[in-house]
């Protein structure tokens, strides 16, 4: 006969006000098998838990039912209490009298009746509970970081400094991300590359970081602690082991007119190129689509065309026959830090939900540029050597108009959110312009100023009070070409005056969006994303760096628009989660998973077909002579999530879910 203890919690007024807890305890005490039944104000408190432990010891309880809040809240608490008193934790269950009863009903009598039912439901179930032990899975204590921007770099360094190996995968030829393109950073006006490149070098030289640049994640299999990741190492056409970064190949390349991605189209690069001088790794890549050699080869021209870089290379590092290579790495945790891209000012958008700004010329008006392009102009290593010059005629602009909220906060164009960083970087731009062009006039059209960080509002005030940027509150209706200048038709809503300005240059502060292709990556990682493509955190308040897939973490702008300090903080947070995960050799999992009875399983594999997680494996059953008797199903304890679909599907009832066996469920249902 069972010896079950029932503990009904008042939860202060939460349950006690609507449910007569004393009556519930009394009714349940009358059930066969219940030897102890009390009610108490706060079961989760220390004295409350002490009551459970005491009862287990004194009355030799073999089952504990706590009628209280949701198991999501305190199942762990009570199971731990039971375990310390010597009772297997899986012989302790909760009946939800709060979210399922007192919080949703008003009639005290009927709510109490329902509470009794809920209690009885669990009491009958627990009679069929069996003691279970947590499952131990080995953990591969290496991490994968996807994305080599500032967030990825920070995460990789923190994990590596914490003693664990990291593989850092970056799709571009060099790490550094957008931060490497910036001239100065707010609010300190530090030179961006000066603070970034030491970190980049540290990554390259760190003994525990394996840097795979110019590579992409091809597929991900497995589960927390045990991921197998297939990585595509794209062909640079240059042998990394031989190249010493001398740069001779770039000097001799005849095609020097390819718009540079790093320079945001304002400067040119060669077909064999390194994106910027401080690139890490400093190994060039051949852009096969624009390389004469490869274009000729694609057209099957028999005679070899160009190939000068191979001739010039003193180390014979150029390899035109290099192919993409695939490698597989085993890791225990994955950090996604893929960063952002800017909303396009052109007509074509890469999403059907986005519309471009025809009223701002669809990007066709000369000298209308976006924020990253302005950064390249301002950057000392940029295409103009740090001088602010008009791309059209290289003249110095005397008036620059900055437009905030381009794409952002614009329902009609498809993006409702605020991109967070634009108010700050526009203020920064006005200050840089003020320093570089004396007498230059900066005008900013804004809707609001979002400067909530440390020193941020003071920074914007400096732009207004010291650099004398003119801040006009209003959106611009239209910009048109007006001969050599650009006519900007806006308004200052604070005074009610329409404003028309003839500008030499217009900078559009465009919205922050996730990187292209992030949705495909998210699907590989089984991570969910929102309608804009931003990866979803597990809980917006309390679990900002985890995802709903155990073992996969997110950092930086891939989750939502974010500045550098927040991206770094988030990256360090993911590192701490990863190191916490790796702090033990074995990972404990709850044993509430499916189990196949090998004796009755017929090997029909319906369960394998319906399992959403791919947790069913095939096992061979052999006789003593090694002859194959049958192939049956077996559940992978590391992957199974305990959804129960197989249990419901199995025609021979060979699959049961520990903790929710058929017996337990029938007993509970029949009790109602």
């Amino acid at each position: 006969m069972s010896r079950i203890g029932v503990f009904i919690c008042h939860c202060g007024e939460n349950i006690g006000r609507t449910v007569d807890c004393a009556r519930v305890a009394k009714s349940l005490s009358e059930l066969p098998g219940v030897v102890h039944s009390i009610d108490y104000k706060y079961m989760c408190s220390d004295p409350g838990q002490a009551l459970i432990k005491q009862a287990i010891r004194e009355k030799q309880l073999d089952g504990v039912v706590v009628g209280a809040c949701s198991p999501h809240m305190h199942e762990k608490t009570f199971r731990k209490a039971a375990a310390t008193a010597g009772l297997n934790p899986f012989l302790c269950e909760m009946a939800n009298l709060r979210e399922h009863c007192s919080w949703i009903h008003e009639d005290r009598d009927r709510a109490t009746d329902k509470a009794v039912d809920l209690g009885r439901f669990i009491v009958e179930k627990i009679k069929y509970n069996r003691p279970l032990s947590t499952i131990q899975i080995p953990v591969e204590r290496r991490a994968l970081v996807i994305g080599g921007g500032i967030a990825g770099i920070q995460a990789a360094l923190d994990i590596a400094d914490g003693g664990r190996e990291v593989i850092l995968v970056e799709k571009d030829p060099s790490i550094g991300g957008h931060m490497s393109q910036l001239s100065e950073t707010f609010p300190t006006l530090d030179c961006s590359q000066c603070i970034l490149t030491p970190r980049m070098v540290e990554v390259a030289q760190h003994p525990r970081i394996k840097l795979l640049a110019y590579s992409e994640v091809d597929s991900v299999e497995g589960y927390i602690g045990n991921f197998q990741v297939r990585i595509r190492r794209k062909a640079r056409s240059v042998d990394e082991t031989k190249c010493n970064g001398c740069g001779e190949c770039q000097k001799c390349c005849p095609n020097k007119k390819i718009p540079s991605e790093f320079e945001e189209g304002l400067g040119m690069r060669t077909a064999i190129y390194v994106p910027f001088p401080q690139a890490v790794p400093n190994i060039p890549v051949i852009d096969r689509a624009n390389c004469a050699f490869f274009k000729a080869r694609a057209k099957r021209v028999k005679k070899a065309v160009c190939g000068k870089c191979a001739e010039v290379c003193g180390r014979q590092a150029v390899n035109f026959d290099q192919q993409d290579e695939f490698i597989t790495e085993k890791v225990g945790a994955i950090v996604a830090a893929t960063g952002y891209q800017l909303y396009s000012i052109g007509k074509k958008q890469d999403s059907k939900n986005l519309r471009g700004y025809g009223e701002y010329g669809y990007g066709e008006i000369p000298d209308v540029i976006d924020g990253l392009q302005f950064e390249r102009l301002a950057s000392a290593s940029g295409p103009t050597g740090g001088k602010i010059l008009r791309p059209s005629d290289q003249k110095e602009p005397k008036t620059i108009v900055f437009l905030q909220c381009i794409g952002s906060r614009d329902r009609a164009k498809g993006i409702e959110y605020c991109s967070k960083i634009c108010c700050m970087y526009v203020a920064k731009h006005t200050m840089l312009y003020h320093h570089k062009v004396h007498g230059g006039k900066a005008v900013v059209f804004y809707m609001d100023i979002r400067a909530g960080g440390k020193g941020y509002d003071e920074f914007v005030r400096r732009a207004i009070e010291e650099s004398h940027a003119l801040y006009l509150r209003g959106r611009v209706s239209r910009i048109t070409r007006n001969g050599e200048t650009i006519r900007v038709q806006g308004v200052d809503t604070l005074s009610g005056e329409p404003v028309s300005i003839d500008a030499d240059m217009v900078v559009l502060a465009t919205a922050i969006r996730p990187q292209p292709g992030v949705e495909a990556l998210a699907q590989k990682l089984s991570v969910s994303y929102d309608q804009h493509g931003f990866l979803n955190e597990a809980h917006p308040k309390l679990r900002p760096v985890e995802t709903n897939t155990a073992g996969v973490f997110i950092a930086g702008a891939c989750q939502s628009p974010r500045d550098i300090p927040d991206s770094v903080a988030m990256a360090s947070a993911t590192a701490s989660k990863v190191l916490g995960l790796f702090s033990k050799e074995l990972l404990e999992r709850e044993p509430l998973i499916a189990r196949v009875d090998g004796l009755t399983c017929t090997g029909c594999f319906h369960c394998e077909r319906v399992c959403p997680y791919g947790a069913v494996e095939r096992k061979q059953v052999k006789d003593r002579k090694g002859r194959l008797l049958k192939i049956i199903a077996e559940v992978n304890q590391g992957v199974c999530q305990g959804c129960g679909t197989c249990q419901a599907t199995c025609p021979s009832k060979s699959v049961d879910l520990d903790g929710f066996t058929d017996e337990q469920i029938y007993a509970a249902v029949n009790a109602l």
């Binding site: 509150r473 209003g474 959106r475 200052d492 809503t493 009610g496």
Partner: protein, 188 residues
């Protein structure tokens, strides 16, 4: 997207509610960015600019809105509507304001504009179509702008652009039913 009209009326006469009820538009959608005013061709002639009109709607400042001359300056060029980031429809809101203003403050309507609309609508009510010579004549009598454009009449006639005889459509009764069913100003 279908038009949703508010389901309950607040106490008192809220102009904001009246406009919501008439158009299905919620003034709360406007975040006062001013893009409408920035592109409005009549902004330089308007006392209350477009975004200010919507602001007063948000603040429920009834009389000032209904007596404003600016709402009659609107050309319904739809530029504001096409450019509003929140897909609000200032032009429709201003149309609705005019409809209420005519009923409550008919004498506020700028004389010429009132004269024109009345003359135009009378033409439709009488003939079913606008007979332009009659329109101009009626307008001149109402507005008192007797001599304006008089010198173009010969040019118009010579180019065959003014027909002197009106035609009435057969279904004129249907038109009159429509007019009677709508609350418009009665023709005088």
């Amino acid at each position: 997207m279908s038009t949703t009209h508010p389901s309950h009326a607040p106490s008192g006469e809220s102009i904001s509610f009246q406009i919501q009820d008439a158009t299905g538009l919620d003034p709360a959608k406007c975040y006062q960015c001013g893009k409408c005013t920035a592109g409005c061709p009549m902004a330089s002639e308007m006392d209350l600019k477009t975004h200010e009109i919507i602001r007063l709607l948000q603040l429920d400042v009834r009389e000032r809105l209904l007596k404003a001359e600016s709402i009659w300056m609107c050309l319904t060029c739809e530029t504001c509507t096409a450019r509003c980031p929140n897909a609000f429809d200032p032009a429709a809101a201003i149309d609705a304001l005019r409809e209420i203003a005519i009923k409550e403050f008919p004498n506020i309507v700028p004389k010429n504009i009132a004269a024109f609309h009345t003359a135009f609508l009378n033409q439709i009510r009488t003939h079913g179509r606008v007979f332009e010579f009659g329109l101009v004549a009626s307008y001149k009598l109402r507005s008192g702008a007797l001599l304006a454009d008089v010198d173009s009449v010969p040019g118009m006639l010579a180019r065959g652009k003014l027909s002197l005889t009106p035609k009435r459509i057969q279904g004129i009764r249907e038109i009159q039913t429509i007019f009677d069913g709508c609350t418009t100003r009665k023709s005088r």
